[in-house]
């Protein structure tokens, strides 16, 4: 259906080839994301859920293409909660998200670790060091420690496949969630996968509810012993990790021994082919005995890791003397050249690469006129996460803040509360449709509950798709992950129900002057206004027509 001759949507097309490739041969070139999907499918995962986000998006799309049950949730918190329910029912689940998505899902994650979970639950955190398409480069290995969740870190597609199976096995053995922490180059790089040589794991059990109130209801009296049980389980997993085959030693010269994990392992093997290497597959809880023995056999023990000095700090705290990296290498991705520098202790300035052509708001984007109007009216724009964030670039430069999913509304309200009236009256919150469903609704409730004295204006840029991540469906498109029809959430009805009286729906491209007049009128009065600027994404329109046609035939 998709024209794979043009490179445009990276998602979807790969998943199709994956299915046919799997049938042809046992040696495949697949991305880490596809490998996770294959493992989930092979392990009988009964539900995959998540929210789209680079670099995690393709996992659920590939799982769906294989025939697995995959769903987009409104946000990562809901996804993880649905996955938890599946797990409580005794079935296997996987919840996928980008690193910042785990912030949203952190609330259920921390207490899920206390629960007794009969079915495996694998939480995939796809981190993005280097921020090719993210607002920060937080290192989610810290979450595993903070929440007390065992963590596996694959370094290529083969391991992404094997570690997903292992995560399911560990989750069911200890009845605890397991985190699969990936990074951009593991998610998206295509590497060789041989499925035939992988040992199988136990078959899934049929779903069946078995009551166990003290182990599943986290009121304080039950949560206190549950925390104790979590720590005991983690101690057992740490013991298991000491001899587990997820960790590997590459024999080399005793002059230098490198402790590493994930993608950093690949860079290390290339940058220092002669070194001894301890490659850790499970990086929480850590196998300190194994690491201590390895470090004692080498003259110089180093840690090579991307992002935060998580391993270096943990090993030093455990009394294992290791060298880490200079602070400059905390920023951005590692690569072979940077690992060579770390090994050589070279902290001289790195050469700056010439900038490529930056992405732009598409020339035919139906929401360009919105940003022209925001600029014409000299608005202070509280922005949000999506392709419309690109309006920060010339020629518009019409975004004044961008923090996290849904923040446009709360931040806009705070600006309105604090600014002098002449400035406050110019503040506008701008948010996309998928982002609105993800975390804009509570912001609207706050706006009605604590209205600024100058009122407020929220513009929802509704392009009918989750465009930035590759045109995924969401609850307000009326279609599920596989594009089949379902109930459609109405953005205008939601905001009316929350108590917003001035609700306008307008196509900003059909008559840009009319849109600008409407925006000016709304800014000039003190009430609360939501303008739904509805214009389909130009890149998605053809596919949307096709989905609509197919769904009409089904009815």
């Amino acid at each position: 259906m998709k024209d794979s001759h043009s490179a445009a949507p990276a998602s979807g097309t790969d998943a199709t080839s994956l299915t046919s490739g799997a049938q042809q041969s046992s040696v495949e070139l697949v991305s880490g994301n596809e490998a996770v999907a294959l493992a989930a499918f092979d392990a009988g995962v009964s539900l995959g859920t998540g929210y789209p986000g680079t670099p995690s998006t393709e996992i659920l799309e590939a799982f769906d293409a294989l025939g697995g049950r995959a769903q987009w949730a409104p946000n990562e918190k809901v996804a993880l909660e649905v996955a938890l329910g599946v797990s409580l029912a005794g079935a296997r689940s996987i919840a996928t998200m980008k690193h910042v998505g785990l912030n949203v899902a952190a609330d259920p994650l921390f207490t899920a670790a206390y629960l007794d979970l009969p079915g495996a639950i694998v939480v995939v955190s796809a981190d993005e060091p280097g921020m090719s398409s993210s607002q920060n480069e937080q290192d989610n290995r810290r979450y595993a420690v903070a929440a007390g969740v065992a963590m596996l870190e694959p370094s290529d597609s083969q391991e992404a496949y094997e570690f997903t199976l292992r995560a399911i096995e560990i989750a069911e053995r200890w009845r605890k969630p397991v985190m699969l922490r990936m990074t951009t180059r593991v998610c998206h790089a295509k590497t060789v996968l041989r499925r035939g040589k992988v040992p199988s794991i136990p078959s899934p059990r049929p779903a069946d509810f078995k009551r166990n109130i003290p182990a599943r209801v986290m009121v304080p009296a039950y949560a206190r012993p549950a925390h104790k049980r979590l720590r005991a389980a983690l101690a057992q997993i740490a013991e298991w990790n000491e001899t587990a085959d997820v960790n590997r030693i590459v024999d080399g010269s005793p002059a230098m021994g490198i402790v590493t994990s994930g993608i950093s392992y690949q860079h290390v093997r290339e940058a220092a082919p002669e070194a001894s290497v301890l490659k850790l597959g499970m990086t929480y809880p850590l196998p300190f005995g194994l690491i201590r023995r390895f470090a004692s056999t080498v003259e110089r023990a180093l840690v090579i890791e991307e992002g935060d000095p998580y391993l270096a700090e943990a090993l030093r705290a455990a009394g294992i003397p290791v060298q880490g990296k200079a602070e400059m290498f905390r920023l951005g991705e590692l690569n072979v050249s940077r690992v060579r520098r770390i090994l050589a202790g070279d902290v001289s300035p790195e050469p700056e690469l010439p900038p490529g052509k930056p992405p732009t708001l598409c020339p035919g984007c139906g929401h360009r006129s919105v940003f022209s109007s925001l600029r014409n009216l000299n608005c202070i724009v509280s922005g949000d996460i999506g392709c419309y964030t690109l309006a920060v670039l010339p020629p518009f430069e019409a975004v004044d803040s961008c923090v996290c999913m849904g923040a446009s509304i709360g931040v806009g309200l705070g600006l309105r509360h604090a600014l002098p009236p002449e400035q406050a009256k110019r503040v506008v919150s701008v948010i996309g449709d998928s982002t609105f469903i993800h975390s804009g609704i509570t912001g609207i409730v706050e706006m009605v509950y604590n209205p600024p004295s100058t009122g407020h204006v929220v513009v929802v840029l509704d392009n009918g798709t989750t465009a930035m991540t590759g045109f995924q469906e969401h609850p307000a498109t009326g279609r599920k992950l596989d594009h089949s029809a379902t109930a459609k959430a109405s953005i205008e009805d939601l905001v009316r129900a929350a108590g917003v009286r001035n609700v306008h729906v307008i196509d900003p491209t059909r008559d840009p002057a009319a849109f600008e007049r409407l925006l000016k009128e709304c800014l000039d009065k003190p009430g609360l206004t939501v303008i739904v600027a509805r214009r389909e994404c130009l890149l998605a329109a053809r596919n949307i027509r096709e989905y609509e046609r197919m769904n009409a035939q089904c009815n």
């Binding site: 024209d3 794979s4 001759h5 043009s6 490179a7 445009a8 949507p9 990276a10 080839s17 040696v27 070139l29 680079t54 670099p55 280097g130 090719s132 398409s133 290529d156 951009t184 180059r185 998206h188 790089a189 295509k190 590497t191 060789v192 993608i263 690949q266 860079h267 093997r269 290339e270 690569n335 072979v336 050249s337 050469p351 690469l353 010439p354 900038p355 490529g356 052509k357 930056p358 992405p359 732009t360 708001l361 598409c362 392709c387 690109l390 590759g470 890149l539």
Partner: protein
């Protein structure tokens, strides 16, 4: 002597950079090599620069071509050569549209595959292997025009 061949394919979003690197990776995989292919997704579909790394050899570790080690830089968009110049090894070869009569292409959209034709002259894979990979990686209706483009780039 390095045992890994490093190819970087560069262009702008929408020019078929990923399709081209998929085809190269497929040819190398079928020839029995270890293969890794990597690029950054995300913003490229908004028309930005994109570069895809393909590495093959007996054993490949990092999926990213290190700076100064690319044996070939295939530029679907000629202005991306300077952007990616630092990736090329001192003996590296640039493959770009000016090296064959690109104006004879039936469709500009098959420029990516025509460049693979030009690249193929430097690699030891058979023409049959390339043809088979193009057939596997492209929708049937696009195979014919792309095989012609490949032949144009290869120079016959």
């Amino acid at each position: 002597m390095r045992s890994v061949t490093n190819i970087v394919i560069a262009g702008l979003g929408g020019q078929g950079v990923l399709t081209a690197s998929d085809i190269v990776a497929d040819v190398a995989l079928q020839a029995g090599f270890d293969v890794k292919k990597s690029e950054l997704h995300g913003m490229s579909q908004r028309g930005g620069s994109i570069a895809s790394d393909v590495r093959f050899g007996r054993e490949v570790f990092s999926p990213m071509v290190p700076a100064g080690e690319a044996d070939f830089l295939v530029a679907v968009e000629p202005n991306q050569v300077s952007v990616n110049a630092a990736i090329l090894s001192p003996s590296g070869i640039v493959i770009e549209p000016s090296q064959f009569p690109a104006d004879k292409l039936h469709s500009k959209k098959s420029l990516n595959v025509a460049l693979l034709g030009a690249l193929s002259r430097h690699l030891e894979f058979s023409e049959e292997a390339w043809t088979a990979a193009i057939k596997r990686r492209l929708p049937e209706k696009l195979v014919e025009v792309n095989l012609e483009a490949f032949a144009l780039g290869r120079g016959h």
